[in-house]
């Protein structure tokens, strides 16, 4: 398979569309947790009843067409190879728990992969809409439509007082988790993140580093999501998150501008060094790859690097994950082999860009 072919298969169609503010917000996601009346939650339900649920969803919805998402297909995790599941996890279409721990786990996927509905994860149903850029309201609208579409044929566990009933008390009420993935390198470089994080937490929002643990966010990527699901309307939850994200966007833009004005040479040096390392390395750990890719993406967004497309960060961040590297190689790889493959893949991908110019 050629690299171009592989990329076009590996990158979800929704990712290729450029969303609003996509220089800072890479993607927006809305998730709704739902359960079926009179069936215990997946943790305690009999395997029989879980199988019957996924079969039911399959017969009612799989192969059917949704007016927004087109044809929807159901995949059973039990029928999939380990690496196929891993690839779906790396694309954020299913969770690691659904891939590895669920009984009778399944996922309904739309063709463009902007919609995935996990069956028998922690809750019976988890609707997820993923859009590129900063499009939280749109994602909520789509998730709501899918919710109505499913509710047409499935009886959801709902209580007048507590709302949608979920396995975990942190999801009860709306069952809504809205989140954005943000690239905030300038706020990290200028050491403003340490000041901003506690403030954001105080507003009932959670900030987490992606592809990293604790406060150390690899690749300067942060996921920001709501914590509270009970007592507010879905629209209010999304709006509260949106207003904080908008402020972060402004702060990040201001920090980038200040960096360019005050330390242009240092920024150019940082960006080009990382570019050079990506373009010529022969082995690279994923941690370094994310860091360098973040620098290059910042360089592109700041106008320092002009001939590389901006979605290279999103693309390579996914493509250089172990599951994808192994899928591309067509075999299981040791960590050392992966590091070599990763370096090769990144070099080849960057070369595609230069070829495009000629």
């Amino acid at each position: 398979m050629s690299l171009q072919q592989f990329i076009s298969q590996a990158i979800s169609p929704w990712m290729k569309k450029e969303g609003p503010n996509s220089d800072i917000v890479l993607s927006s996601r809305v998730r709704l947790a739902r359960n079926i009346q009179d069936v215990p939650f997946p943790m305690l339900a009999s395997t029989e009843s879980l199988v019957s649920l996924s079969d039911r969803v399959k017969s009612e919805y799989s192969g059917h067409s949704h007016h927004r998402f087109g044809t929807i297909e159901l995949l059973n995790t039990g029928d999939m190879k380990q690496n196929e599941k891993r690839v779906l996890v790396e694309k954020h279409l299913i969770s690691p728990a659904l891939s590895d721990e669920s009984r009778a786990g399944a996922v309904l996927l739309s063709e463009d992969e902007s919609l995935s509905v996990m069956i028998n994860e922690e809750d019976h149903i988890r609707i997820q809409c993923l859009l590129s850029g900063f499009q939280l309201s749109e994602a909520l609208k789509l998730a709501n439509e899918v919710d109505d579409w499913l509710e047409d044929k499935l009886d959801f566990a709902f209580d007048e007082k507590r709302g949608y009933l979920t396995s975990c008390p942190t999801n009860v009420g709306t069952g809504l988790r809205a989140s954005v993935m943000m690239h905030l390198p300038a706020l990290v470089i200028t050491r403003q993140m340490n000041r901003i994080l506690p403030a954001v937490n105080q507003l009932g929002l959670v900030v987490r580093g992606i592809y990293g643990e604790g406060s150390e966010a690899q690749g300067n990527l942060f996921q920001i999501s709501n914590q509270i699901t009970l007592g507010k309307t879905e629209e209010d939850i999304v709006q509260d998150l949106q207003s904080v994200v908008l402020q972060l966007i402004q702060q990040e833009r201001a920090a980038r501008k200040a960096l360019l004005e005050q330390s242009r040479v240092q920024m150019e040096d940082r960006v080009y060094r990382s570019y050079g390392i990506l373009a010529y390395s022969r082995t690279m750990e994923s941690k370094e790859a994310t860091k360098r890719l973040s620098d290059v993406r910042l360089g592109i967004d700041m106008g320092i690097i002009k001939d590389v497309s901006a979605n290279i960060l999103n693309e390579l961040m996914i493509l250089t994950q172990p599951g994808f590297l192994q899928q591309y190689a067509g075999e299981v790889l040791s960590p050392e082999q992966r590091d070599q493959r990763r370096a090769t893949l990144i070099r080849d991908r960057l070369r595609l860009e230069t070829k495009k110019d000629n």
Binding site: M43, L44, D159, E160, P169, T170, E213, G214, L230, T233
Partner: protein
Amino acid sequence: MLCQECNERQATLHFTKIINGEKTEIHICDVCAKEKGDHIPGSKGFSIHQLLSGLLDFEQPVSHPTSQGGTSRREALRCPSCEMTYDKFAQIGRFGCADCYKTFQSKLDPIFKRIHSGNVVHGGKVPKRIGKDLHLHKEIEKRKQELQALIAKEEFEQAAELRDRIRSLEKSLAEKKEG
């Protein structure tokens, strides 16, 4: 500082645990951290539910004597549908089924308040199909109470009218269920 597990590598993970005022410090290296896995926050085995259970279990007595003095009131709280006990719920931080919400009803407000900054009542979307039924159920309940009040006051003429109204509501609810 050397790792306290293997005493070979440098400790890179420093972790302080304070439980009931008792402080424990752990200093270990990456390798041992991965092996110990479950016990260290941030490692793969540590889940939100374990964190939560700390939050849910605030009724737990500080000392944990191995009492044999019969079943406590807490233990008696058991969901009739899925057999989940409140103790177990507090331990794993997850409900077993929708009915657990009713069974543990009396305990939930303080928990939800903590998790959802003071909120205990849903304020969002109502499912369209089931939602309509809920609305009807609610109205029937209300009318039935009014009916009792009318009978108590011996206002039989109005009571009869109300009874007919309730019947028609119940009929439309039944029709909806069949349709």
